[in-house]
């Protein structure tokens, strides 16, 4: 009895020491990866994340860079455990990037996993997932919007052993190199990932030595349990009920003009919550499909955002909810349905979840946002004859929030890439940026305005192959509580010229000629609340800042302006009259 009493307290202190140590270790792994990664994608866009897992492959600690990966890590690790059961040794390392036989969202997201042994016993894994600039397939960057099977999406590695006894398998490296347009970058990044995992392994063993194996493992279990308990406690405070919402993706890249439905029914009772996606569209012929590990990551993202951004982030969270996905649907496609443009679907899913939960957690309501997109230009450098891939990830307007406007020109939701510097792009690639601005009136009108989308316009200085994976070029971001929609995005080749042409939302391998221009407009965020209730002073400020035009101030916000010597001021009487009339 006395022992039981003294045990609990030691737990609380040591548990927190354990948690702080694990956080330090994953942060160190992450810093190492950002520093030693080779490609612009890892080092400048920072499209990579690290985790520590227990021996069952559950994430114990993750420094959150990319929230979706919390679902991917366990799926990748399970593939290793299944394929190599009984043959896992110290000094092993595995590669895996398979969306079906693992958990990568798509083939470019390559995981490197190493085991950690203590006194001859497997205690866990260290891993990272990092986006590769090119892993083969029909188009530079490996993400073809017109892919019909995963076989059109580059080289897929199921769990394969990359190291034994700390020695690299050079055959695998040669296979990868032979299948990539940018072999140095891909192998350089993989080696950086390996270094980061080994660093984590070393630190994890030090930690285990300090606490002893049994206590270390029981703290791992306790951390997972606490993440679940805390999340369930938050869920229990929400209103019970059945909530439903849907969102649409423009199309799947193959069947133009056919929106893809993402549907969710949320059943919430007590501290249980279930997300049923069965009502979503059948699996698509084009690459709009997503796999359950990604869905679990997306659901975790939403719950953390709504419950407490500072909660413990580990696999335990995923025990706090259930998902139902219908086989053969866009949320659980049958092999080998293509998946490479998964992100627009995930954004639609996240927005459907936020929409369904908006009445449960009204103080965290938010309108829809811009989604995310990447543009990829590929070719061969005229100087060196080497293949290059210019890869940029662009955000836009975020949705307006319960108490304030949405952010402009931002990555949103589960996406979080940095924008590539213009001066670097122009120095490295045969392109020149002609315009980088916010788009006036692109934010949805509302008491709180949606964030603005951005416009990037490029002139191409040499022939190149162009691909885009975007979203919301057809279906606009929704407003909330009476707020207006955000402006849709667009991709235009040679705007204003005779041969002007709009490309679809997702398009692969458009042959750009030297001197062609292209203009990417990204969507604005939806507005929240009645625009006629927006403070006229805020509308006036938006006009001064160029965010809203005077015409839209009148038509959307019902604010009557007078021209003054310094610009505009508000005709308050006329505004009141106009607003009163509505």
């Amino acid at each position: 009895m006395a022992e039981a009493q003294t045990k609990a307290p030691v737990d609380a202190i040591e548990l927190e020491i354990m948690r702080a140590s694990l956080e330090g270790i994953v942060l160190e792994m992450q810093n190492s990866l950002f520093r030693t990664g080779y490609s612009t994608i890892v080092r400048e866009s920072q499209d990579a994340s690290c985790a520590i897992m227990n021996a069952k492959g559950e994430v114990v600690a993750q420094h959150v860079v990319l929230p979706l990966h919390i679902g991917s890590f366990p799926a990748c690790c399970n593939a290793v455990l299944e394929a190599y059961a009984g043959d896992i040794q110290e000094g092993d390392a595995w590669l895996i990037n398979h969306p079906y036989q693992g958990g990568s969202p798509h083939a470019p997201d390559m995981a490197v996993i190493t085991p950690a042994f203590f006194d001859g016993e497997l205690i866990g894994f260290c891993a990272s997932i990092a986006h590769k600039s090119d892993i083969g397939g029909p188009v530079p960057g490996s993400c073809s919007g017109q892919a019909r099977e995963v076989f059109n999406e580059g080289l897929h590695l199921p769990a394969v052993r990359y190291q034994r006894g700390y020695q690299r398998n050079l055959e695998i490296e040669r296979i990868i190199a032979a299948n990539s347009r940018t072999p140095e970058l891909v192998l350089g990044d993989i080696r950086g990932q390996l270094g980061s995992a080994r660093l984590g392994e070393e630190r994890l063993l030090e930690l285990t030595k300090k606490f002893g194996r049994a206590r270390t493992l029981s703290y791992f279990a306790r951390l997972l349990e606490l993440a679940e308990t805390r999340m369930r406690a938050a869920i229990a405070t929400w209103n019970d009920g059945r909530y439903e919402a849907e969102r649409f993706v423009d199309d799947d890249g193959i069947e133009a003009g056919k929106p893809v439905r993402i549907h969710v029914v949320v059943e919430k009772k007590g501290d249980n919550i279930t997300f049923d996606f069965s009502g979503s569209a059948d699996q698509t012929r084009g690459p709009a499909n997503i796999r359950p590990p990604v869905i679990r990551g997306a659901c975790s993202y939403c719950l953390i955002a709504l419950a407490d951004p500072n909660t413990f982030v580990n696999s335990g969270l995923m025990n706090a909810f259930n998902i139902v996905v219908r086989e053969g649907s866009v949320m659980n496609p049958r092999f080998p349905a293509p998946v490479n443009t998964y992100n627009p679907t995930v954004h639609a899913l996240v927005e459907a979840l936020f929409a369904a939960l908006t009445d449960i957690v009204p103080q965290k309501a938010r309108a829809d946002g811009c989604g995310s997109r990447s543009i990829i230009l590929g070719g061969r450098s005229t100087n060196t004859g080497k293949g290059y891939v210019q890869y940029e990830i662009l955000g836009g307007g975020a949705g307006a929030r319960a108490t304030k406007d949405g952010m402009s020109g931002s990555s949103i939701n589960q996406s979080n890439a940095k924008i590539a510097p213009i001066e670097i792009i122009e120095s490295e690639f045969a392109t020149r940026v002609q315009r980088f601005e916010l788009i006036p009136d692109s934010g949805g009108a509302g008491q709180f305005r949606g964030g603005l989308g951005i416009r990037r316009e490029y002139i191409n200085l040499a022939d190149a192959r162009f691909s885009i994976r975007s979203t919301k070029h057809v279906i606009a971001p929704n407003g909330l509580r009476g707020g207006g929609k955000g402006r849709t995005g667009d991709i235009t080749i040679n705007p204003g010229r005779e041969d002007e042409k709009h490309l679809p939302t997702r398009y692969a391998d458009y042959p750009l000629k030297g001197n062609d221009t292209f203009r990417l407009d990204t969507p604005g965020g939806g507005g929240l609340g009645d625009a006629a209730k927006r403070d006229p002073a805020s509308v006036l400020r938006d006009i001064e800042e160029g965010y809203v035009t005077p015409e839209r101030a009148l038509s959307d916000y019902k604010v009557v302006l007078r021209q003054s010597d310094k610009g505009y001021d508000i005709d308050e009487a006329a505004t009141a009259k106009l607003r009163g009339a509505n």
């Binding site: 009493q5 202190i13 304030k404 510097p421 001066e423 980088f436 916010l438």
Partner: protein, 686 residues
């Protein structure tokens, strides 16, 4: 009386002073309450303390100041009304910033906002012009248009203007012409050009740095002007008046007034400079500096006597692309709060009780337990000797706070709770130290932990033990260590020029030509500041990377490359890359991204005094014995008075050493000795 050096480091609560008599090398210190509304009042008060001792103000030959005037104006959003000029079509650069959110909890926070723009779109104008990535003018500047734009900005009553055009680091003519026109239209306007503030590739970081400079420049200029007037009024006429910068070097008053942004992250720099001096006066060349105060803790790495330098940093989410000492900051200080929740978990930080209400033991209304309360409950701090006894600490209030919020909810006793909280905060700080050391392949066993700040020496001993470090150094005046660093710095100006070029396309002569140009600027600026040629040292380095890599490695190099120099650079780069990142690609092309030159104006060093043993015994330094808790055991601890600890004396832990503004703990298993500079050197008991 001899010639004096006077330095002052202005903090939020106190302004710390160090006075060094250059002839006798006697050092004295003082703490004067800060005067945030006009920091120069506290500075004059501190100067008056010296003059009151009979020192002729004309004998103050050197004055150096660490200021937070710029930092505070930035943090509080109290800079001047600023305008911005960008290349036509590129208004998005500033507003989009990096586009991403910070990693960690903020990704999940749907209420997160990027830092507000210091210059809104309504005060941003566009210049019809364009320069290519090779520096070629594609579109000449439309002077008429820009004049009209500047007139509009004038109508918006700007007092400062930032100009940041694409590729201006290659071809600065357009920015310079815009300044000429701006000054014709607005003769009193302050103008900051990105091609002068930081002529470096990557437009957003250059723009952000330039805007921050423009936003703060008039404020710092006014402050320095006022301070100069007051100092001269007090009879301090020396031209050797300096301000500390983020790069660990000083700058003259006049140069600082033009480059305000260089002071913004200078807060921790003084302590690092003083630590570099410790490398010269102790046998230890490898240090981790550990500065723990009331709310945060700064750690930095010094290897072979030199700190790591970062090429950019952030303050409050805003980017500054200037060389600065690489510091890792964690939210851990004396005021950091501990709390439990309904699930039985204990969390320490990042919240802090701040100065108000402060720790429970201050008796100013704080009820939540802090690190200071735990240190008091454990017997590490005494009730009667805080701030030299000026402030009494309330031990029962500390215990009550710990009991109510930690011990009772967890079902443990007060001391166990206090010890647990301290262990947790120590682990967080240890992780910060690991982050800056093991990642680079350094072995902490080769490093000493140099502890300063109000709380550093309390925690350092336990942390060094846990990290397996070589030991701990506690300098003589840990509470004013930043001001101490201001006594012994040099003037340092950084010059940079970005020219992205494959190394293979360059000759040694090409590289030398760029450095020659930078060297000319550096020499003339330092000469203007009164440095003779023989006091000027130039340090060249290159930012290099493998072609297409996203990040550069700064590699020191000769100012003038000899024949074969490029081949050696290439080899050095491969080796350095291997050392830093563990891999190398000798077959890949290497590119130069930027040329860096640091101009150093050597200030004649002042050596800290060495002390002779005075024959004071350890027993004479003993003030009291009190009980303190170590690893679950309550032990009797001698409490020594630091000022009475004689040179050469040594003792074993457990022991407590008290001084005016700081307490040092020597833990069981540790041995302490006082060296001839009166540093306490703590190592493992052999």
């Amino acid at each position: 009386m001899g010639r004096f050096r006077v330095t002052v480091d202005t903090g939020g609560t106190f302004s710390d002073f160090v006075y060094v008599d250059e002839d006798s090398r006697a050092v004295t210190i003082a703490k004067v309450p800060s005067t945030p509304d006009d920091p120069s009042r506290a500075i004059l008060a501190g100067v008056d303390l010296l003059i009151a001792k009979g020192v002729d103000p004309a004998d103050i030959r050197y004055f150096c100041h660490g200021t937070t005037v710029g930092t505070n104006a930035l943090l509080e959003g109290k800079g001047v009304r600023t305008g911005l000029i960008v290349t036509e079509g590129f208004r998005g650069i500033y507003e989009v910033q990096e586009q991403s959110r910070p990693h960690g909890a903020q990704i999940f926070d749907i209420f997160y906002d990027k830092p507000a723009m210091l210059v809104p779109q309504s005060r941003t104008g566009e210049a019809h012009e364009r320069v290519s990535f090779e520096g070629e003018i594609l579109i000449p500047l439309d002077e008429e248009k820009i004049r009209a734009t500047l007139r509009q900005l004038k109508g918006k009553e700007i007092v400062s203007l930032a100009v940041c055009l694409l590729f201006s680091f290659l071809t600065p003519q357009h920015e310079r012409r815009i300044r000429e026109i701006a000054l014709e239209e607005m003769p009193d306007c302050s103008v900051s050009l990105s091609s002068e503030i930081v002529p470096q590739i990557r437009e957003y970081y250059r723009l952000s740095t330039t805007v921050i400079n423009a936003y703060l420049q008039p404020i710092l200029a006014r402050y320095i002007d006022n301070l100069e007037g007051r100092l001269v009024g007090a009879g301090i006429v020396t031209p050797q008046k300096y301000i500390m910068q983020s790069n660990g070097g000083m700058s003259t008053f006049a140069a600082t007034a033009k480059k305000a942004v260089a002071t913004v992250l200078s807060g921790p720099a003084g302590g690092i400079v003083a630590s570099m001096q410790a490398c010269r006066t102790t046998p230890y060349n490898n240090l981790i500096t550990f500065d723990m105060g009331g709310t945060s803790c700064d750690v930095a790495l010094i290897k072979d006597g030199e700190p790591s330098i970062a090429s950019r940093g952030k303050i409050d989410g805003r980017d500054i692309a200037l060389p600065m000492i690489e510091i890792n900051t964690v939210s851990a200080g004396g005021g950091t709060l501990a709390r439990t929740d309904k699930f039985g978990t204990l969390e320490v930080g990042p919240q802090s009780a701040g100065a108000q209400p402060g720790p429970a033991c201050y008796g100013r209304g704080g009820t939540q337990p802090t690190i200071t309360d735990c240190n008091l409950a454990l017997g590490y701090l005494g009730e009667d000797n805080f701030l030299g006894g000026q402030m009494k600490l309330d031990r029962s209030a500390a215990r009550e706070a710990i009991d109510r919020h930690v011990a009772k909810p967890l079902g443990i006793d007060t001391e166990t709770a206090a010890e647990g909280v301290v262990r947790i905060i120590n682990v967080k700080m240890q992780e910060a130290i690991k982050a800056i050391s093991t990642m680079r392949g350094h072995d902490l066993r080769d490093f000493m932990l140099l502890a300063f700040g109000g709380a550093g020496p309390l925690h350092a001993g336990a942390m060094a033990q846990a990290l397996g470090m070589a030991g701990v150094i506690v300098p003589l005046y840990p509470g004013v260590y930043s001001a101490m660093g201001l006594v012994m710095s040099d003037v340092k100006h950084d010059y940079i020029r970005s020219r992205l070029t494959p190394l293979a396309r360059l000759t040694e002569a090409d590289i030398n030509a760029v450095f020659t140009e930078l060297a000319k600027d550096a020499r003339s600026e330092l000469q203007d500041e009164g440095f003779a040629m023989e006091s000027i040292v130039l340090e060249a380095s290159l930012d290099l990377r493998y072609a297409g890599q996203g990040y550069e490695v700064t590699l020191p190099c000769d100012l003038e490359l000899a024949t074969g120099g490029i081949a050696r650079l290439r080899a050095d780069f491969d080796a350095r890359h291997k050392e830093m990142f563990g891999h190398t690609a000798p077959d890949e092309a290497v590119e130069i991204v930027s040329y860096r030159l640091r101009g150093v104006g050597r200030v004649p060093p002042v050596d800290l005094p060495k002390y002779q043993p005075q024959g004071v015994s350890l027993a004479d330094a003993l003030r009291e014995t009190r009980q303190a808790r170590f690893d679950g055991r309550l032990l009797d601890c001698p409490v020594y008075q630091r000022e009475r600890l004689d040179v050469g004396i040594s003792f074993d832990g457990p022991a407590v050493v008290d001084q005016l503004d700081c307490t040092t703990i020597v833990f069981p298993g540790q041995h302490a000795k006082v060296d001839e500079y009166r540093n306490i050197i703590i190592t493992a008991k052999s």
